[in-house]
Symmetry: C3
Subunit: 456 residues, 3 copies
């Protein structure tokens, strides 16, 4: 039985050379390499699903803007995803995760997050003669470094995607992209260091499983400050106090975007178990999938019923946002043991989000796609729900919501204001009325179609 | 070698406390926890692919209805997915799978399907001190309970998605959703108990690997009775006997929907191996993927050639449906060892479906998207094909097709008729001609586009 | 501990009967069956992502053609995927991979690639009594045969998808499909045998990890010869030397297609590690995912900046193609240890592709979607980059690029020319100006929408 002797030899080698410290998968009966592989592969698959959410936001927003602004929102969404990846590689990841002092505020200011020397040695080793190199890798980490980077990177892209919808239809392309670079390279990672990076909020007991606050509300606060500083779209709020609806141009695209987001959210919440190498992790992941689905379903159904009762008919955009609000709401605690509670959390998320939509309009904060209601309002709700229904601590949850809200709002405002008074953030009103696609991107989204100029 | 001593200690503990009964992964050389993880993760990944099919049906149907009914079909599709999940959680899963008597007709009438006490104990245990809790979980089940629930839930949603396409463009929103709730909470689970729930059809030897009959024909029968009771769309069948085509408004969306369904079907059929924790399961799953792809390819190509020969040109919608019919046809037996036979089964499925489309029109059964031809006709064919080409028993296959067909047709008809004579199931003809989007959802799907009113 | 005795008995049995030769996963500490399962499942998941790229090409091309040609391009794309699968099953896979002589030129000319006898025996064995059958399978191969077939098949489909975009809007349906059958059954597999099939280019040291040349340039050369022999679209190049832009009809679809391709590329490059059953494979796969993403991001950003500087505004189609060019460029060497170099490779790929687009127009080679710039130009660049930045050998890389380019160009030209002078490859100019959808497919892509006839 050469295999067993090889395993034993490798293990002995590893033990003798001190390569296998006690790591966190220790509790499972899996061999260390198997657990390493499963954890790594899980990050890659879940990360791919979350990457797909960037397409979901694109389609949702492309469906909810007017036809003359559609190419611009597509361009913004694919480029913001690209920028998020580059900035998080250049600086963001290390700020968030590397050498954050216990209870501290920020990680390492240094460029590039790369494979470890041990990983590079393993990749370069000859097949069949790499036992020591392999043991050095799986003995010192539960998963490959870059698989974790990939998974965390798609989260920062999500936060950026949230912003683009709110400020659509009147923001200039380039300042928006600069804002995204700052958000994904600095603002998001610094607040992320406080909690997921094991900084002060983590020490305080703040609990946000997959990021109702850390991802969704962060995007929400950045979007809120942007919407305020940018002002509403031309013609949105009439002098007579009337609110003019600017209906989205393409409802099936918005529906597709919502389905994509719903699908991607299984990776978002499921992958946030951060492991697959034990029965415990697999069991928790299953519960997370189910809760995620039921919360979305409940948010969808409740918002439909509420819209039907209040407005007479169940506006499709309200229902789509209701499902998304259910997803955002469960994101802080999708590992709750009772799926019925997850449904309740999602239902309340959908309801709060639906109620919030007209309130933002009332105070003339113009949110093109309803992202504030979905990501900020339901994000806050979901974070509180961890204290109400689960093991979360009220004080820590409120502290986290407030601290992150204040930090992101202030830093975002500074960036928006600097951009506003330097290169300007708003397109000419003439361009806005005629459509950003011509002014900013130089083409039409639907050139073969007869378009009735809507709104504006 | 502390790992081995830990494994041994855990195993001893488990054996002593009787936690490891003989379970079905016993034949593999994997350790029990590894198999548990792989089976569970497979259900989650495959289930995510099947969930994605809900988006596929949405896009297919959004592409195949007329522009003025597009938002309504989007709304129905996302809400039906939500309802299916909630109903299956509330009541359906237990009716189908829990405590079905051997050879029996129905499972347990009780609310909520939740994680087991052992699973909750494992999730709550401290990392590193959870060996006994973990052994209790993977020792008593091959996969986590909720991963199986998730996988089964997306199947019931598929059955519901089939209905929406057939009855589109004239059914009212709310009665449709009520029907979906009954279908997914009761009708589908009860017939499912007969076979997959190890009831009387299973005892008889009925074989339907991933549900040509149990999922697709069930959706088909429910749709057929709906189409008959509802009647055809206004203007579809002229007084002079002429059939008026109402072409779908958005062919790329329909194409996208078909691609999504094709992709999701790898999860649908592949995941129906129900395991990944052995070389046998992995080998079978590979064969299933290949057969699924080749059957779809053959259905696609054959329907194109047939349409070109018969109608002069290969109508895109026929080709899309041909691919789907190939998929439905192979679903009852995708584990057949010879992929060439799978191609043949798919080819015949595509052919039968293409031939069937005009026949439904001839008897004035108005099926907006061709779902009856695809899911019912090819579903029956695929179920018979298991007897013709594989290990299936003719009698059992025919018994299953008939019993399920009769049961679903009768129960569906009752629900449709009750709805018809209470709240009504059909929109006003005026609303139908003007479009359901205004009447039922209160918005337009494409408000910025100049629409020529097509059909009606 | 019955499990261990069973493992030992199985292993003994396998050793005695010579069923476990030394196979390549030998270096990992995983048991052979676990590695077999992980490798197999990885091929299936990665293959599903690559299959999804067929939908990506469909949506990209459907968005970039004019409205009157949209249904045709949808039809071509789904049918080409079907044909690629059938041809690769019938003949292609064996030509490429089975019995290629060491350093040789071609594999086995025989029909059908099916599961092995050992695999069929395992699938037929009783659960719990299949230890010997299982050992025979995982002892003789690292993964199931059909999982590898599936993964390789979706690659040949990708090569075919590249062709359809370039020759769109004027090629007839049937000759195009015949070309696809020859490309996927013969041309692609034969050149593939030279490298991945361990033929003469492999012996020479040619290195193309996931196919910058073997897949993307092959599609590019086939498309280039097609575009030349077919000629440009009517009205594209004016008599006065002016180039008339024919803008794509649906930008959000093109954006969706790009996102789908980006997502699918994680399977394309990640799966090309060809294993998951060791820490080494998992580590390499993570690096591949990250490099793939960063190269795409860099290509996207650089092409946007270049387009803005050169044309004043960042044309969305240029940016989408820039991201794709970054992906193509990194495909030959995505396992490079330094992600910053991957970014550089992607950036140069995006830049070269963007520069190339007007050059093709200058020589009146009419490429509807820019596929030549993306897949051929960036494919050549990426293959060279392996020599510049990594372990590749300049001579071998250039030899591979040239040999494959010459072979594919000559064989493709022969097929195109034979088709041209037999059944004809070009639609009537009248049909071309009115749109291929009516002439070739017999329906409209957007029948409910008022279309302004664009171009032509």
């Amino acid at each position: 039985m050469p295999k067993y002797s090889r395993i034993i030899a490798t293990s002995l080698f590893a033990v003798v050379f001190g390569l296998i410290p006690s790591v966190s998968f220790a509790q499972s009966t899996l061999n260390g390499e198997t657990a390493f592989i499963l954890n790594t592969f899980m990050f890659l698959m879940a990360g791919t699903l979350v990457m797909w959410m960037a397409a979901g936001f694109s389609m949702l927003e492309a469906g909810l803007v007017r036809a003359q602004n559609t190419a611009t929102i597509c361009l913004k969404n694919i480029v913001l995803y690209a920028i998020a990846g580059v900035m998080y590689y250049l600086i963001g990841y290390k700020l968030m995760y590397v050498d954050v002092p216990e209870g501290g505020f920020i990680g390492s200011f240094s460029l590039f997050y790369n494979p470890s020397a041990e990983e590079l040695a393993l990749m370069a080793a000859e097949d069949g003669a790499d036992a020591a190199e392999a043991a050095a890798v799986y003995g010192s980490s539960d998963y490959s470094r870059m698989s974790d980077w990939f998974f965390q990177m798609v989260f920062v892209a999500t936060a950026a995607s949230i912003v683009s919808g709110t400020v659509a239809e009147r923001i200039k392309l380039w300042p928006f992209l600069i804002f995204v670079a700052v958000l994904t390279g600095f603002i998001y990672p610094i607040q992320g260091a406080w909690s997921w990076g094991t900084g002060w909020l983590d020490a305080m007991g703040f609990s946000d499983f997959a990021g109702s606050t850390i991802v969704h509300s962060v995007g929400g606060w950045a979007a809120l400050t942007g919407a305020i500083i940018l002002g509403p779209r031309a013609g949105k709020y009439g002098a007579d106090g009337r609110i003019h609806p600017f209906p989205g141009a393409n409802m099936p695209l918005a529906t597709l975007g919502t389905f994509i987001l719903w699908m991607g959210w299984f990776g978002f919440n499921g992958g946030s178990v951060l492991a697959l190498g034990s029965a415990k992790a697999a069991t928790a992941m299953s519960v997370v999938f189910v809760n995620t689905n039921l919360a979305a379903a409940a948010g969808c159904i409740v918002s439909m019923i509420y819209a039907a009762l209040r407005f007479g008919k169940p506006d499709l955009t309200v229902v789509l946002n209701g499902a998304l609000a259910g997803l955002v709401a469960i994101t802080a605690g999708p590992d709750i043991g009772n799926p019925a509670i997850a449904m309740l959390i999602g239902a309340i998320g959908g309801l709060l989000s639906t109620i919030a939509i007209p309130l933002f309009d009332k105070v003339k904060i113009d949110d093109v796609v309803g992202a504030l209601s979905v990501h900020l309002v339901a994000g806050i709700w979901g974070t509180l729900a961890v204290a109400i229904f689960s093991t979360g601590d009220y004080l820590a949850q409120i502290a986290g919501i407030l601290a992150i809200g204040v930090f992101v709002s202030i830093t975002s405002s500074i960036v928006w204001i600097v951009l506003k008074y330097t290169i300007g953030i708003r397109v000419d009103e003439r361009h806005e009325r005629y459509g950003l696609d011509h002014a900013e991107v130089g083409l039409e989204a639907y050139p073969d179609f007869e378009i009735r100029r809507a709104g504006g």
